[in-house]
């Protein structure tokens, strides 16, 4: 069989342009306008939303259903709404710089890509540091009560996503400074960008549910 397929491949070379490498498979047909990288990331984000959904289910039960349900502030515990609000602003502005980086590379502006990626990574890092600082000074632990558990659970889950997103961003930044990506080929910026925007939007939901409502 293999002999058959190789000889067929060689025969193809004479009349088929895109078969420059006859050892490879035939070019797959593209049956959708969406690129598979972006589609894969979107599907992954659906899964991620459901991960958050499960934690929000826990939040719902602990805050509204469980025996003796209550929410902050209680027993002298308060949530630092203002500081977290500032942190929200920092994370949201990082979405803007991310968008700047993405449009820059689309227009061939390499400086914009590099500066945008660097700024986004630094803003993300700042967010994470403020978050950890908040953990250190907040005064209760996840072991104290279910309210603490779900506070750390949701913000920690989100923090873990920020960390993953940051890893992707650093990766993109390194590659941007090494001269990768062109106006034609920039999926490597676009796909982590989608993830980063998702992390930001998710934070708005988490912030609203935990701190404001």
């Amino acid at each position: 069989m293999e002999a058959g397929s190789i000889s067929a491949g060689i025969a193809l070379d004479h009349h088929d342009d895109h078969h420059d490498d006859h050892h490879g498979p035939p070019m797959a047909n593209r049956s959708s306008r969406v690129s598979h990288e972006i589609l894969g990331m979107l599907l992954f984000i659906i899964s991620e939303i459901m991960v958050f959904g499960a934690f929000f289910t826990a939040y719902f039960f602990i805050r509204l259903v469980a025996e003796g349900h209550r929410w902050f502030p209680f027993e002298g515990f308060e949530l630092p709404v203002a500081i977290a609000g500032m942190n929200t602003a920092i994370l949201l502005s990082s979405s803007l710089t991310m968008h700047w980086a993405q449009t820059s590379i689309k227009n061939g502006n390499r400086f914009g890509l590099k500066a945008g990626m660097l700024l986004t990574s630094l803003l993300g890092l700042t967010f994470l540091f403020i978050q950890i600082n908040e953990y250190v000074h907040i005064g209760f632990s996840p072991q104290d009560h279910a309210q603490g558990t779900i506070f750390y659970g949701l913000t920690g889950l989100h923090g873990a996503h920020v960390f993953v997103g940051l890893t992707l961003l650093v990766m993109v930044t390194v590659r941007a400074f090494r001269g990768h990506f062109t106006p034609e080929h920039h999926h490597g910026v676009e796909v982590p960008g989608i993830y980063w925007h998702f992390v930001d939007v998710m934070w708005i939901v988490v912030y609203t549910a935990i701190y404001i409502v």
Partner: protein
């Protein structure tokens, strides 16, 4: 030697595993000394971290992440040279292989290994239950046996074996050279044996294996002995594996269909896997989170399920069943796809109501998310949830009924070829209908209250998972065996396998309905004297059922080694996977097929599903348009009444 150590493979994987354990020791040491905990090195803490890090070390060592590490560090990536495709020796199945056909076989063989292990546990349970009182195992071991039995057969057999079969045939069916993310495909396979080995290793844990059932209800799982974490963490790997595969299937189906293959020209197996993958991508995160919460409660003293500190115990069941009810459709829909293929081909007729078959799959996906609390009728949840759940549960029988009646209508006046795959398909139709009917009974709240936690539940679940899913798996394995191995299986042994399975399956599980209604509790190693007669009979029949699985194993192994060579299209099917040689060429197609018609036009004069453009290129047997034409031609001749 150094090159062998640095190169990806089993040796580096062993090193990676050891390194993962070592890193766990270091991390636990640092963390515990930071918090001044005593003792500084807690064995259970190290174990739990190792259960995450050792498998990851194994995967890194095996080379599953090599490409991505290259990419991340910003070095120029090695373009895929396709040298890794195909398997020449058995050793090629023990490395990271990006060929979907190799991965498919890896999946199927691995999951059948766990099928036999899980079946062995069932035999042990039936030996214990043959008589009242204690025979072979103590009650705790018995609890471990049924928990591992269920976990292996659900997470390591039924879900992945469908993924394996689809991995092999789905890209061929839609005319794609491979899956869209081949490296992710390889990674998702390799997470699977790790999860299975982890669950089996739990028997070595102090306090025995996890014994809280495959449902692992909190607070039982929070307070259970250490064996529980082998389930908690093993499920994470099995779940990640199935999410990755599902994502891959969805992206492959959406972006890689051959020219002309519109959504409504896809074979129903592709539709079935499309719907299943939707379910997996949406639902599986819930079981991952539920097990993470159990882990946090157990190991870090969190309070998710601790009512004293404001947690909620029933929350576990809500989150768990929000995955695990859709999971029963994850375990069933791919089987529906297999049956649709086989029934159309073997009765030489177009499938009845093709579009309704596709839409009913999607309806099941949607409705599947609305019924989870019917598992909780006796849990003490709010009363008002019960009746809506009863109604939605009854409604979900409608799309399933549409499928059953469509298959029956397809059979109607068809020219039935009663060979092994078809026998299994017909066996599935009858048995799954019975299981579905007892399912509708269980949707009725008063019935559930009466039979909850009895053998009636055991009978129901085995009628849908054994009589439903497993029979479709056997049907699919026999149907695609010639394609996957290039050999024909032994038809006489296949039929013997079917009849022994069918008879002893019923002899084993049908009486369980009766003792269930009489009130014999499930998941207990002992029972009252009055059920001794039934249980002895069930146990004897179940051993015969176990022997019937050995016939299957012998048939598969012997036929793979020395069966007669299979032709490219032994069933005269129209779908694309049969238009290439058996086994298919290393890259599936020399040039892509073009789809010009529906996949099931058996007996329709002049109907063609797919044509190959380069007809002038000499093709091995039957890989051309004439192959497709021949299939339909002889089919139509037979169908004339």
């Amino acid at each position: 030697m150094v090159a062998r150590l640095r190169g990806p493979g089993m040796i580096r994987a062993a090193l990676g595993t050891a390194l993962g354990i070592a890193v766990s020791y270091v991390i636990i040491f640092i963390m515990r000394s930071w918090y001044d905990l005593d003792p500084v090195l807690d064995g259970f803490a190290v174990l739990e971290l190792s259960l995450f890090l050792a498998p990851i070390g194994f995967l890194i060592g095996l080379g599953a992440f090599d490409y991505w590490f290259h990419y991340m560090s910003g070095r120029p990536t090695r373009p895929e040279d396709h040298s890794g495709h195909g398997a020449k020796t058995w050793r090629d199945y023990f490395r990271v292989n990006t060929d979907h056909k190799v991965i498919g076989i890896q999946y199927v063989v691995t999951s059948f290994f766990f099928f036999f292990v899980g079946g062995l546990f069932a035999m042990l349970m039936r030996a214990e239950l043959a008589q009242p009182g204690r025979q072979f195992v103590d009650p705790n071991t018995f609890n471990g046996l049924f928990s591992v039995h269920a976990s292996l057969l659900i997470f390591l057999f039924i879900i992945p074996v469908f993924a394996g079969l689809a991995n092999y045939v789905l890209p061929l069916m839609i005319g794609a050279p491979d899956m869209i993310f081949p490296r992710l495909n390889a990674l998702s396979f390799w997470m699977l044996p790790l999860a299975g080995i982890m669950m089996l290793m739990s028997f070595a844990a102090p306090g025995g294996s996890f014994a809280s059932g495959w449902t692992a209800y909190a607070p039982l799982s929070v307070t259970a002995p250490e064996g529980q974490v082998f389930f908690t963490i093993g499920v994470q790997f099995a779940g990640a594996s199935s999410i990755a595969t599902a994502l891959n299937f969805l992206a492959t189906i959406i972006t890689m269909r051959a020219p002309g293959m519109s959504f409504f020209r896809m074979p129903l197996l592709v539709w079935a896997n499309f719907s299943t993958s939707l379910l997996v991508v949406i639902a599986t995160p819930f079981i991952a989170v539920s097990q993470f919460m159990v882990l946090f409660d157990r190991s870090l003293g969190f309070n998710f399920f601790d009512p004293v500190d404001g947690g909620d115990v029933l929350m576990y069941q809500h989150i768990f069943w929000f995955y695990s009810h859709p999971a029963v459709y994850i375990m069933m829909l791919p089987g529906f796809g297999i049956i649709s293929e086989i029934i159309a081909v073997k009765s030489r007729k177009p499938i009845f109501g093709y579009r309704m078959m596709a839409f009913s799959l999607l309806a099941i996906v949607v409705l599947g998310f609305t019924v989870w609390a019917h598992h909780m009728f006796v849990s003490g949840m709010q009363d008002w949830i019960r009746v809506p759940m009863m109604i939605t549960t009854a409604i979900i029988a409608v799309p399933t009924g549409i499928k059953i009646f469509s298959w029956l209508a397809t059979l109607w006046r068809g020219v039935l070829h009663l060979d092994t795959p078809m026998l299994f398909a017909l066996g599935f139709l009858s048995m799954f209908t019975l299981g579905g009917i007892s399912g509708v009974m269980l949707a009725i709240i008063p019935v559930t209250i009466h039979v909850s936690d009895t053998y009636f539940i055991v009978a129901h679940i085995h009628y849908v998972l054994f009589g439903g899913s497993l029979l479709t798996i056997f049907a699919g394995v026999y149907y695609w065996f010639p394609k996957m191995t290039g050999r024909m299986y032994d038809e006489r042994l296949g039929k013997l396998h079917f009849w022994t399975t069918f008879i002893f399956f019923n002899a084993t599980f049908a009486p369980m309905h009766i003792i269930g209604v009489q009130g014999m509790p499930r998941r207990v190693a002992d029972y009252a004297e009055e059920w001794a007669g039934w249980n002895l009979a069930i146990s004897i029949m179940s051993f015969f059922l176990g022997v019937s699985a050995l016939i299957f194993a012998y048939n598969m192994i012997a036929s793979w080694r020395g069966g007669p060579r299979a032709e490219s299209n032994p069933w005269r099917a129209l779908t694309i996977e049969w238009q290439v040689s058996s086994p298919p060429p290393i890259f599936n197609f020399d040039s892509l097929p073009t789809v010009v018609g529906g996949p099931y036009e058996y007996g329709v004069p002049g109907a063609v599903h797919a044509v190959f453009k380069d007809a002038e290129v000499p093709q091995p047997a039957g890989a051309t348009a004439s192959g497709a034409g021949r299939g339909h031609g002889s089919g139509s001749a037979e169908d004339k009444e």
